[in-house]
Amino acid sequence: MKNKINLFIIIFFLGFCFVIFYKGLNNSSIYTPKNINKKNIPIFEAKDLNSSAYLNSKKIFQEDSFYIVNIWASWCAPCRAEHPLLMELSKNQSVKVIGLNYRDNLNNAKKFINELGNPYFQSIIDSDGTLSVEFGAYGVPETFIIDKNKMIIKKITGPINEKIVEEIKLIIK
């Protein structure tokens, strides 16, 4: 009887380990960032890229409209690739694109805008990357969709593409 109980415990334990490891095998080993949806936008103060005047978040997001916050830098190649799509989005009347320039040389940032066009309704500077952390960003490029209630409803890590632009258009419709 005792031996049977011991055998049962051992089989149960091995079976349990097997299930755990088998489930683990099916999990992706690539970490995908959690989408932090429906979060309030952070309260902050940042310098304007063009005028160097200080702007606060209340002033930046004051209009009753959807907003797109795009984190970018002139040294970031994927930012260059997604720029034409941002230009396209900026033509949409129901959304305002805010550019957050991430740890960049300001002259290079201005050159980048002059060369590729300015899709940004407002460009602000994040010289040390701390403002991007307040948004919950990992790096560049990253894009956040903000609804009329000033809540972050979608976060896109990496460059946007045609498919994402269509998704954004559906959201802001």
Binding site: N6, Y31, P33, K34, I36, Y102, R103, G129, T130, E134
Partner: protein, 122 residues
């Protein structure tokens, strides 16, 4: 002369206490940074990493400590931004309770088996 002596003593005391508090803040900062995962690096803490992300997190933690925020509140802030994954030491919640309780259960089970075996041999 006496006043000068008092001033010098006061100056030394203030300087000493200030350097002690800075040392304390540095220790706390290092402790926190070692417990934060660098989300864009492989197997590195923010303390070990030199990435842009780690640089920004280091600044944020430094700022929060200067603002007088407690360790747990700093973790709470980062969890709010990036989820539980950013902290190496996971909190006990419905997603992590197996992780916390399983070793304890195994320990108790092992103890029970050993006790039975010992009783049997005696």
């Amino acid at each position: 002369m006496k006043t000068l002596k008092i001033f010098i003593i006061l100056f030394i005391i203030i300087n000493f206490s200030q350097s002690k508090s800075n040392e304390k803040n540095d220790d706390l900062k290092n402790k926190i940074l070692k417990n934060i995962r660098c989300l864009i690096c492989q197997g590195q803490s923010v303390y070990d990493s030199e990435s842009d992300f780690a640089f920004s997190i280091k600044l944020i933690v430094d700022r929060k400590i200067s603002e007088g925020l407690k360790e747990e509140l700093i973790y709470e802030f980062l969890r709010g931004k990036y989820g539980d994954w950013i902290i190496y030491d996971p909190k006990l919640n419905k997603k992590t309770y197996i992780l916390w309780l399983l070793p304890l259960l195994l320990f108790l089970l092992g103890g029970a088996i050993m006790r039975k075996k010992l009783k049997f041999t005696n």
